[in-house]
């Protein structure tokens, strides 16, 4: 499997139906060559995300030297036995380490109150099943935004250190300029081209 710039984003898909897991995995890989991990429950998802301090068995071939798998987006079914997609969403958003990971919820039922509840709970998007290739295009901006927030947080942590860092304090102005440029890129369509050229080939 070729590892290129486009394959750097990792999506965690959660669905109790094997058939739907297969579908979402294919959709994700076809649309943007994401790395994909699929799990069949909310509790397994939390394990993968590292909320439980246990050894996890990865469900796909990921780089083995990382103890925790870095996830850039979680896409989860709403109706699952045990922990629902909404419960999982809340757990992610309430966790200081995971709250910036964008979460998308899928459901086969079009229930406005459910959709609102999820969006208000912090979900970025709500997809109606069956999920389409065109829905996959909506994921890019959220992943980039999440990455951006993550980098911001990292830089804040670095700057608050009194130790010498790679960046150095004189780069503060440069960082804020860079952030501004990134914001503009996120909003413009050109981001999609840079993000994944394969998305141009969608139907």
């Amino acid at each position: 499997m070729a590892v290129d710039a486009e394959a750097q984003f990792h999506v965690l898909a959660v669905d109790d139906s094997l058939m739907d897991r297969k579908l979402i995995e294919r959709l994700l890989k076809t649309s943007s060559s994401f790395q994909v991990t699929t799990v069949d429950s909310g509790s397994k998802a939390l394990e993968v995300l590292g909320l439980k301090e246990e050894d996890q068995t990865s469900t796909s071939a990921l780089s083995p030297q990382h103890n925790e798998i870095e996830v850039n987006l979680v896409i989860t079914d709403y109706c699952m036995p045990g922990m629902t997609g909404y419960d999982l969403l809340k757990k992610i958003k309430e966790s200081s380490s995971l709250k910036d990971i964008p979460v998308v919820i899928m459901s086969s039922e079009n229930v406005p109150s459910r959709i609102n509840r999820c969006l208000e709970g912090g979900a970025e998007e709500f997809f109606l099943k069956p999920v389409q290739l065109s829905d996959m295009r909506r994921l890019g901006p959220h992943i980039l935004k999440g990455k951006h927030k993550e980098q911001q947080q990292l830089h804040q942590e670095e700057n608050s250190n009194t130790n010498h860092t790679i960046m150095g304090s004189s780069n503060n102005n440069n960082m804020s300029n860079k952030r501004k440029v990134m914001d503009e890129e996120i909003l413009s369509d050109r981001t999609r081209l840079g993000f994944s050229s394969s998305s141009l080939n969608l139907i």
Partner: protein
């Protein structure tokens, strides 16, 4: 020997009326890296749906019937049917669910007969379809060999 030129042609020939746009989308997701994707998904569908229908059978036989559990099974069945584009079956499931919410046992039993019938027809049609695909050489895929 037939040579199919587009997926739409294959679809309309073999499966008109039983499958909708979603099945076409599945075909679009199939490529060299996942050459049997459609058949794999369909296989999973029949495994899922057969199990669910056995569960539904059981739930209907209980005295009194467990309509709450029944609804959960139907939700799953309808979702699966929708995922492979089985439009007719999805609609029958929706009708079934309405009777279920009304706790109308007779309506449920009638609906279930329809769902089972649709399921059987769909299985036959899809088996024929995959068999047909194995016998032809599509223009765009040189890797498939005819008999």
């Amino acid at each position: 020997m037939f040579i199919y030129t587009t997926p739409v042609y294959r679809l309309s020939l073999a499966l008109q009326g039983f499958l909708d746009e979603q099945f076409y989308q599945l075909e679009e997701l199939q490529d060299e890296s996942s050459p049997n994707f459609v058949e794999e998904v369909v296989t999973l569908f029949f495994r899922d749906s057969s199990r669910l229908m056995a569960n539904i059978d059981q739930a209907l036989e209980q005295c009194p019937p467990d309509f709450h559990r029944l609804d959960k099974f139907l939700h799953r069945l309808k979702g699966s049917a929708s995922s492979i584009g089985a439009g007719k079956m999805k609609n029958e499931c929706a009708g079934f669910r309405e009777f279920c919410s009304e706790e109308n046992l007779e309506g449920c039993l009638r609906s279930f007969q329809k769902v089972k019938k649709e399921h059987t027809i769909l299985r036959q049609k899809l088996e024929n379809y995959f068999q047909l695909l194995r016998q032809v050489v599509p223009v765009d895929k040189a890797t498939r060999s005819g008999s």
